[in-house]
């Protein structure tokens, strides 16, 4: 059992390395295929200066040479200097922005899980009831409303009209973390609620639920101790990519609320042709997606004994 698990993890890590290499190659090719470069800004720079800059950052060498030089450095943990933030390395920039992004993602995930699972469970208890229709209606709204609509809307209502919460910032004023967290969590929360409801409805129709009822358990105990575990399997499968998305996809929320996270760098880096920053962030997000998918699979294995059996 344990050796099979280790074999599976080792296999996944090996394929992850291959995948990251592929992502690096494709990203590298794409950013160099895009017109312009880090120093081709609208400020007039003399040809000599641009040539000197290119030579300093080795941009004058053939592309394959650049790529392998980059790989060699990246493998040693050196992702190079940022082209647009002079004097700072890419690693410094990421490390500076990561805490805010991670904090925001964690809060949003906890909020989405808590509300999503509770709302989904309430809805599944009596399909078709008012609680079901209300929570599923809200969930539909949550899925449909993009963050760039929901965020300003929340700011308008709670920040401007009611003046309950600050309109932007992160960790500067009391309560300024609420609105970004809710904005980021809404869509995920809605998906989790719908998945929980569907999973619970499916599990509650299984014969083993009748067995549980025949033990004299309360309906709440039946849901919590029996049905929820199986019902959460699809939620866990969704959480893998969702966790990565929470971190990588928070740039809209970070932009709306002026949060100093890494999401904002990603957009700016793309516009600025900040090659090293784009490469590092893309690889970082790819690694996150791979990691969280592996984690989700491991949690599913922990939840479902039949999957453990199939593994060995």
């Amino acid at each position: 059992m344990n050796s099979a698990l280790l074999r599976m993890i080792a296999g996944r890590l090996a394929s992850a390395a291959l995948l990251l290499l592929l992502v690096a190659a494709v990203t590298f090719a794409l950013i160099h295929a895009a017109p312009g470069g880090p120093f081709a800004s609208d400020r007039a720079v003399s040809a000599e200066v641009e040539a000197a800059l290119n030579a300093q950052y080795r941009l004058d060498q053939p592309l394959p040479a650049q790529f392998f030089a980059y790989l060699g450095q990246a493998l040693q943990g050196n992702f190079g200097p940022s082209y647009r933030y002079p004097g700072r390395t890419v690693s410094e920039l990421i490390i500076a922005g990561l805490p805010a992004t991670l904090e925001l993602a964690c809060y949003a995930l906890l909020l989405a899980l808590l509300i999503g699972i509770v709302a989904g469970s309430l809805a599944a208890r009596r399909p078709g009831s008012a609680a079901d229709q209300l929570s599923m209606g809200l969930a539909l709204l949550g899925i449909c409303l993009p963050a760039f609509v929901l965020g300003p809307l929340l700011v308008l209502v709670f920040g401007v009209y009611l003046e309950w919460l600050p309109v932007s910032g992160w960790g500067e004023l009391a309560g300024d973390k609420w609105l970004p967290t809710v904005t980021l969590a809404a869509g995920y929360c809605a998906y989790i609620a719908r998945l929980t409801r569907a999973g619970l409805c499916q599990q509650l129709s299984q014969p083993y639920i009748i067995t549980a009822r025949s033990k004299g358990l309360s309906e709440l105990a039946i849901i919590v101790h029996h049905a929820l575990r199986g019902a959460l399997l699809p939620v866990v499968a969704y959480l893998g990519p969702a966790c990565a998305g929470l971190i990588a996809g928070s740039f809209v929320v970070e932009t709306i609320f002026q949060i100093p996270g890494i999401g904002r760098f990603y957009i700016q880096a793309a516009f600025n042709r900040d090659y090293t920053l784009i490469m590092a962030l893309t690889l970082f997000f790819a690694a996150l997606i791979i990691f969280f998918n592996l984690l989700a699979d491991l949690v599913a294995l922990w939840l479902d004994p039949r999957q453990r059996e199939a593994l060995s």
Binding site: I210, S214, K215, G216, R229, P305, E309
Partner: protein, 510 residues
Amino acid sequence: MSLLAVEKLCVSIAGQPLVHGISMSVERGRCTAIIGESGSGKSLSLSALLGLAPGVVATAQRACFDQRVELLANPEARRALLARQIGWVSQEPMSALNPFKTVAAQITEAYRGAQPPRQRAAQLLAEVGIRDPQQRLDDYPHQFSGGMRQRVAIAMALVNDPALLICDEPTTALDVTVQAQILALLRQLQQQRGLGLILVSHDLAVVAAVADRVHVMRNGEFVDSGTPAQLFGEPAHPYTASLVAALPQPQQRRTAAPTPLLCATQLQVWRGSGRRARAVVDGVTLSVARGEIVGLVGESGSGKSTLGRALLGLLPVAAGTIQFAGQRLEANAVTAAQRAALQLVFQDPLASLNPRYSVYQTLAEPLQLHSRQPQPLAQQVRRLAADVELPERLLQRRPSQLSGGQRQRAAIARALACQPQLLVADEAVSALDLSVQADILRLLQKLVREQQLAVLFISHDLAVVRAIADRVAVMCDGQLVEQGDTATLWNAPRHPYSQKLLGAVLSVPS
């Protein structure tokens, strides 16, 4: 003094009355049984009484447990009773246990006694006859076979020493030898603990073996009641009589063609891969001739289905040969003609028929592929339906809109559409009610007689095999331990395993 007294219980779903005022009682140490065909409302009555089925409305003049608690008037008290006094064993051993929890956790979940829970679980597992109970406490349901799961379910129901045990078809899906053990266990509990038992079954032999009082249920009513001896010995009510008459009866042997149509020699079939690979069929030599029904019996896991599929060329063979109609049959080189000539009928037609095809489409498809008859397709389909006695008005229905028997007729018709020479029927009547089962068996015999089909009839139900087969082969752990003429084998089984298997068969006293 009755442990449970029910008077005029009515049950309805969505305003539609399904059970119309049944009355019954059970005393301590006694067993009351309800028999009837599927859809008669027997399971529904009991699950409604206990509040196990949501969306069901139950009313009764009286539904009193132990002279004290009105079950239907007081759901909270009923739930407390379920936790301590009433045990319930479900109909479906394969899915009645939570797949995500260990058996020990499930058994002791509602335990209120003083013993350490794991010790109690091990004790109960030992009591229901599970070997090495200590080692199996942390196993999950999928690591147990169907029979073992049923035992776990019974252990679970007994955890708080209930006064009343309600068993819904507790042995239907089980092998005869396991069935005999479970019934013996139930009888023993009844005598030792004074357990009151309510048994729901469609199996007359099981009921006759355990029950003190029997109610015959049909369309939501009790049409007949009495002791098993009264009911089955000299059935007074015509419906009871028809149930008894539908019991499989031993038949005269047909005379088969002298040369076998299918002949397997020293067959070996492997299943699984890597370290788990093992020979599921090992050294089997078997033949089937035209116009002959060969029964293949054995317990679940003995390799019957694997052998059946290998004989049809559906599974590769590791060693040995199969000759079909004088030609070699190889799984990786089955010709179209051979494929058409070798057909399979499954146990569960709902799973094996395409749910989105109407019966007509299901039958037309193989006819388009294989038929060389000049008549129009629609006419051929209708003749096929007539052959299996399937009314023409059902041709446009989908499998889900048919009854179990009609579905099985459609599945047989589908197999016949290819004009097969050999039919392998794998537990083809096991899921059917007694009267429907009798009809399907009659149909198979008619087809064998009229079309000179060769049939390999795989079943765990020995009474059915005895009724239909000309010869019987007994399979145990992948090997044929004995084969021979049905009557001879039944009267004088030679191999110890055949003796054990046949010794476990229950029969209805006549």
